[in-house]
């Protein structure tokens, strides 16, 4: 294992210290319990957005702390849910007397730990609402699994609900908008290589050089199929078709198209994939009216990408266009 680390057990804390040193204008880092809050927290009268999850998906979630997006992020150990103490302390730190919205990706551990945190917060009189993202169409048998995983749409939920909160929407409205983004968004990802968790030291799964995993999760969870490696055009078909059929997206729809890198794929390849996606959608009569290309929800150094499509309406488009100022996403500020 070759990684730019000192010791596996210190990776998360040292990265947090690095974020604090790099972005003192945008955020503050609290250690033990670990959480990141925006520099001006708490913002009086504004709904506070708190998210979190295992580390290893950077910039998600800490990179999205700042004006117009998250008020706090709670990083767990790598690929391990944070603990309720973190969410509770973060909620107290950012509560601006307008309530708190938890944004939770649908994984067994995350859901349980956020549930516990919400129970503890409620016991303290903090008004908390929660939204669970579950946009991964690769998981087919939702009845026989822990349900669809929360992946790319989480980034869009944090941006769009963050804009609503910044504009003064109340807790119920922020929750409604976050749920709408989740309901109108679908994703699917693929991997060319595995990733290596620092404290494990070996690749999470074996993937031969001539194979790829279609429908991969962001922790290396197996996907729908393992198959012969293919061209960008063929891979774009494999990712986009299940997404289009699932919502379904229809001719005439306006969408936000999000091509996300898994951490180990260069931007030039992500743009090749975006080109394929845009041709495919044009062929279906679907208009891309907004786009996002880059590494936003990653899986350590895994090579691969995911597609997320979000069906837009006026409300979501306006909130997507609102200014945002975070380490990883910055526009209009």
């Amino acid at each position: 294992m070759k990684k730019l680390i000192n010791a596996p057990e210190n990776v998360v804390r040292e990265a947090l210290a690095g974020m604090a040193a790099a972005h003192p204008d945008l955020l503050r880092v609290h250690v033990d319990p670990d959480y990141i809050v925006r520099a001006d927290a708490p913002v009086r009268g504004k709904v506070a957005l708190v998210s979190g999850g295992g580390s290893g998906h950077e910039p998600l979630h800490g990179g999205f702390v700042g004006k117009g997006m998250l008020d706090a992020a709670c990083p767990g150990a790598i690929f391990t849910s944070p603990v309720p103490d973190q969410m509770l302390a973060a909620a107290r730190a950012v509560h601006g007397d307008a309530g708190i919205l938890f944004i939770v990706k649908n994984y067994t551990g995350d859901v349980m730990n956020f549930e516990l945190a919400a129970e503890l917060a409620a016991a303290e009189g903090l008004p908390v609402a929660s939204v669970v993202t579950n946009d991964d169409v690769a998981v087919r048998d939702s009845l026989y699994t822990a349900g669809r995983r929360g992946v790319g749409v989480t980034v869009l939920v944090e941006k769009i609900a963050g804009a609503a909160a910044e504009a003064g929407a109340d807790l119920a409205t922020c929750q409604r908008i976050a749920a709408k983004v989740n309901a109108q968004g679908r994703s699917m990802g693929m991997a060319l290589t595995s990733c290596t968790v620092p404290h494990v030291g070996r690749p999470t799964f074996d993937l031969p050089d001539d194979q790829m995993e279609i429908g991969i999760g962001i922790h290396g969870e197996a996907g729908r199929t393992r198959q012969q490696f293919a061209s960008a055009a063929a891979i774009a078909e494999l990712l986009a078709r299940p997404i289009l059929e699932d919502l379904p997206f229809r001719r005439g729809d306006q969408v936000l198209a999000f091509v996300n890198g898994m951490g180990g794929t260069p931007l030039i390849e992500l743009y090749v994939m975006y080109h394929e996606l845009s041709k495919l959608l044009a062929g279906e009569g679907i208009t891309i009216s907004r786009s996002l290309v880059g590494n936003y929800i990653t899986s350590l150094e895994m090579a691969g990408c995911s597609f997320t499509l979000l069906k837009l309406d006026d409300e979501l488009t306006r909130l997507w266009d609102a200014p945002v100022l975070t380490p990883a996403l910055r526009r209009g500020m």
Partner: protein, 214 residues
């Protein structure tokens, strides 16, 4: 059979030591069908429990177990933190202010722990989770005690049922937790949560029998 506070503390020491020993094994089991962190996470949690042990000497069993539960919730993360945390917190509530437990009270506390795990995880038997080991353990113990069996024999049978339940997870298809995403491919692997649950059950028996050398 009487379980006293000191016995509970000894049990925690043995569990912590064995989890440290078995850390890599538990993590390997988890790597096959989960996310390769079960041993590491539990070791972190029980190491934190060990650092609190000196403050728990002389306390009632309920307080000891509640502290263990809240410590696990605060340090383990993942799904096993809330699950084992809830189990210990519920067992603690069932043994509040008690400095010793009869075998009947022990069975009752174990049942409360099982109910906590089931409520938090929403899993039932046959879904390839820790419930597949904990449920037969608790039920066998309870049946034995209610049938006026010798408590030690009941506990031995319960641990055997627990280990059988653990092995029975191998051919199961997971329908809860991260392993469920593998569908058919989860078949053929032993569940890591059932394995750590068995480790705890075995530790309890060994401490009760006086075979507690790590």
């Amino acid at each position: 059979m009487q379980i006293e506070s000191d016995c509970v503390l000894k049990f925690l020491e043995v569990v912590a030591a064995r989890i440290k020993e078995q850390r890599d094994y538990l993590t390997e089991l988890d790597a096959a069908i989960g996310d390769a962190d079960h041993g590491v996470n539990l070791d972190r949690g029980f190491s934190a429990v060990m650092s609190k042990l000196p403050t728990l000497t002389g306390r009632d069993i309920g307080s000891i177990l509640r502290t263990v539960g809240t410590t696990l919730v605060s340090t383990v993360g993942g799904a096993s933190g809330p699950l084992y945390g809830t189990a210990f917190i519920r067992a603690g509530a069932a043994t509040a202010d008690r400095f010793q437990l009869s075998s009947y009270e022990l069975a009752h506390a174990l049942e409360a722990a099982l109910q906590g795990v089931e409520a938090r995880g929403k899993a039932t038997r046959g879904e390839k989770t820790m419930v597949d080991a904990i449920a037969p353990f608790v039920e066998t113990m309870k049946e034995g005690i209610e049938a006026d069996e010798d408590p030690l024999i009941a506990l031995r049978k319960a641990v055997a049922a627990c280990e059988e339940g653990m092995r029975a997870t191998i051919p199961m298809r997971a329908t809860r937790g991260r392993a469920s995403y593998l569908g058919e491919r989860s078949i053929g692997h032993q569940d890591s949560g059932a394995t750590s649950a068995c480790l705890m059950a075995r530790a309890l028996l060994d401490v009760v029998e006086g075979r507690d050398a790590g």
